[in-house]
Subunit: 347 residues, 4 copies
């Protein structure tokens, strides 16, 4: 049986757009019908391709087409809410680039819209389709790491400085999404500090701490003003610890059989720390780098979107997940404005 044809329109064809288009176009049964961008120069080559793709400078034109089943949105962050709402109102399935929206209420109303329309609403949190993140998740879920104490991540480079969003909103959606996925929990409060050097009021550096139930914590260090490119996530568990280094060619995920164990005090002559009733004993065993199969995450994400349209399943990174990310970023932003005061979500 052949899969039903799905007609796709893409809105936004700048830096990231062509990657989405290329991956979607490679899926059987998917047809790219139209692309809209406010800058017509970017669209020049599309209409000359084989088959030619309809182009428009106003996204409303592509939403109006009846041969469009789903809309992919890769525009600047502050336009996501409006375009996604219009697409859902036009009864289209929607894949929107992260973040889902820049305001919590917008994100929430998009979720409601999708629910009412019975359409798929998915957010492009690509890292949840990444083999290394999946590996971390399966290590946690299998119990190999024991109780997860905390997670911290660094996402640093000297790179594209944005004017429309600060470094927090630009980079942290990735790490917040990863943390929520790994811990499968929602933080009670968020405290954050941000510092602006290059432009007034646009933070170049941010430090975010999330406080989860069960004493779990996560910390993010974000910067686009740093001498080195760093993309690391560390998970510290009671039994094992793991480091995911996105820039490593040979050791993307490293598992450390290390920890500090509490052991009863009796007859342990070689302990390194004796605290009366119990002792803390250092354990340092093997290090393992699991082999990962590495399909392109964006390709997995695009496939997942199409699969969910066909099956009616809820995407891994659905609107609700995207909303939670926005709620945390919003809380972090408010904490930054209050010099780090802990902000409760929904406060």
């Amino acid at each position: 049986m052949e899969a039903a044809r799905i007609g796709i329109a893409q809105v936004g064809f700048g830096y990231w757009g062509p990657n989405l288009l290329r991956n979607l176009a490679g899926i059987a049964g998917v047809e790219i019908v139209a692309v809209a961008d406010t800058n017509p120069r970017r669209l020049g080559e599309l209409s000359r391709g084989q088959p030619p793709i309809a182009t428009a400078d106003d996204y409303r034109h592509v939403l109006a087409r009846s041969d469009v089943d789903a809309v992919v949105i890769a525009t600047p962050a502050d336009t996501h809410a409006e375009i996604a709402a219009a697409a859902l109102a036009a009864n289209k399935h929607v894949l929107v680039e992260k973040p889902l929206a820049t305001r919590v209420e917008d994100a929430r109303s998009l979720c409601a819209l999708a629910e009412r329309a019975g359409r798929v609403l998915m957010v492009g949190h690509t890292f949840l389709y990444n083999a290394a993140v999946r590996c971390l998740k399966s290590q946690i879920d299998s119990g190999a790491l024991g109780d997860v104490y905390y997670v911290y991540a660094q996402r640093l480079n000297l790179g594209r400085v944005r004017r429309d969003v600060n470094a927090l909103w630009n980079f942290a959606p990735h790490d917040v999404a990863i943390v929520l996925y790994l811990l499968d929990a929602f933080p009670r409060e968020v405290s954050a500090r941000g510092f602006a050097y290059l432009q007034p009021d646009v933070d170049d550096v941010a430090f975010v701490t999330m406080d989860f139930p069960n004493r779990q914590a996560a910390h993010l260090h974000i910067s686009w003003l740093d001498p080195r490119k760093v993309r690391q996530t560390t998970v510290v568990g009671s039994r094992r610890m793991a480091v995911y280094d996105d820039l490593s060619s040979d050791a993307r995920v490293v598992l450390y059989d290390r920890g500090v164990d509490r052991v009863p005090t009796v007859d342990s002559p070689r302990d390194f720390n004796d605290f009366g009733d119990f002792q803390l004993r250092l354990r340092s065993g093997d290090i393992t780098v699991p082999a990962l199969t590495v399909p392109e995450p964006l390709r997995e994400e695009c496939r997942h979107f199409i699969d969910c349209i066909r099956s009616g399943d809820r995407p891994l990174t659905d609107g609700a997940h995207g909303l939670r990310v926005v709620e945390i970023l919003d809380a972090a932003q408010r904490s930054m404005q209050q010099h780090g005061r802990a902000v409760r979500i929904g406060e």
Copy 2:
């Protein structure tokens, strides 16, 4: 002319004590007269050495000796204040291990005592006698880094877990001392988060942000519960950036001729970011690893103590410096108890 003989007594002869003793004993004109430790087993070998050193289990015995000019204190942190006060009261010069004290008021009164007694009071902030930190400092002072925007440091390992102090008080005195030295400024407020996993109420992990005048900032990430050993300090300046990696054998300090420059908007066809009135242009030039001469920092510290006794000069890490470190740690501790609320020093 021969330098005047200086008689030294050491109080505390545990993990770190023998290193101090060895370095002091190697300085011309210095004589180790007596060592006190509450655990007499540690002192066994000293009295059999050539020449034999007087030993005691009560530090008051060694303070009472008239042939002792200076006292070196390497005991647990919460005893520093009492012993240092007694030594100054006995008119001895004092070198006390970091931190100077565990309470701000104790640190402050030690400074006053030393002032009144006209004795040298020095704190063992060894990293300020380290060639790599000195190199960073000279790069900053020469203007090579431009305006320093911010500093961040990671001090992580899976190591000795303490019961008497948490990871903040154990590790952060190093980084706070380094930051104060590099920026030559005092923070207006401190916000911090800490998390305890191994023992109730003893934080294993801490994140500290210091807010300096002129928008400068510093961030510390401290942990004794981490899979990897990391000892890094990064300084981000407007002209250059620097990374000090204490564990690198070949590249202790790395200078990056990198940054993001604001340039006027006119006729700049190759800009990567045009913001109307100005543009931000990425600059990525040479990387340099300066050759460092590497004397043992502890040896430099010990020599500096003796030199200050002889010359009457104020030590680089004098009581006032040690007090500032304690004030910041104290503010960080209070912020941790309030979930990250920014705490003003002296609040």
Copy 3:
């Protein structure tokens, strides 16, 4: 003034061919006229492109076209000589992938053919168009390294095992070309060892030593059966040393201000080695990573080919250079068959 149009035919469209085509097609005034490959499946997309490109399964068809000025050959190594000779006989300029030929006499006669025809003959030794290799060369030529003592290179991975050529002929053309370029000299003799494990008589590993005049030497370590991917070239000079690591993202070329200096014996109290009439003194200064502008080397190579056609200049990697590479590989192969006996070139 517009540059004259140059019509290009490409022969061979397998693994590497599309990269060549893409780069050539991007040069102003260049028109891709025809592509030949014995496997017609590979050519499918070309004839459907815009503009369509003529395709053929026999390279003779494309050589016969009068609108073809130059031929690019990317076929298996043992067919290079025949196809290049036919192209030169048809009065076409030729860019042939490395190695120029697999037999010395073939390489030599191609040079003669090109000379007689007055056509450009260029070999695709891409690394000589690489910014890092150019940087090494300029460091040597400027005298910054002093006298170059020796060069060694490792080219290792666990990768594509070939049946048509051994690891020596597959990988070493790169390193031999680099060494000849850097030292600007020709070895007097070559000794080599090779070892075959996966297939009978197809060496997986090779060690090659080249003996140059003036006591200079070069050593290559080649393997496609190794746990790690390594691409490094080290140049040891009397004043400075350099390492080129092709896999480093941040430090492609590293210059070490290091060496061992001979100094007169008089009044040198701090020497580390006193040999009577002279001393050897270790020098270990700064390390520098020069910023490199990194255009795609293959693009530079393609441009250079087109420029030489237009200007009549001799290419950097002309037939004579390609011949020297083949002579050295041939000598190495013969030495390998004789267990490492030093083989003189032309012997």
Copy 4:
């Protein structure tokens, strides 16, 4: 039951000597009786110790003592044979630093002398008492690596340049001993190239290839004139591969579950290389860093010497092993003089 007391005399107390003495002195039942060195200044502190040790400037004085059961020789390489022979003639057990001798016939006659005297003759090939080398060995012996194809080692730095021996005799004894131990086989022939830059006729760089039965091979790259410090041994097996990096703090031994497998040709649609009757298929699985317990190798070596004296067992690095190392170095030296001609051992 208390172990019998063993009286030790040490000959040679320069760079390495104090390390040996310290380790021997720490073994129960061992008494350091006397130390000889031609430079009396080096011995100054010994006679003032507690208990005082007899000192001499002529090694014959310490050999003459009846309270000396065993002699440890840490003198320049070219004196090993004479002193070891004298010690064995005086009926002492002998531990001699590597190499056993600088001439094959001397090494051989020392073995015969020890045999006749019934004394232990052991050579200080420390690396065979190193936890990482032991780990490699156990991986090979357990079959985890499959058939070992080849081993290669790099031992490079910019370090102490010697006048008495070249880089081959200075560094390669370590690697030759390791290779013999790992492969448990003896090479049929050796080919080597050496290059002298700093001093006439003293090679600073050497490349050595050893040809073992069963097509196994080993390659050494030795230099004391290199910008970087490298201490690596790589073992390539048919099932797994291993790298031992002596300078790594965190990953001393790394095991790669990697290889190229020969598989029958039938129905293997995803093969990367199809060769008619069989295919070569790349395998790239997990990477593992086994936890090593790391006692000081020199301490293990010293204990082993004392144990062998007490038990009468033959040391792991006995005279016969030391002789084989000298035979290989001697063959390598002769090959270097003949520009790499393969030299058979005993030729």
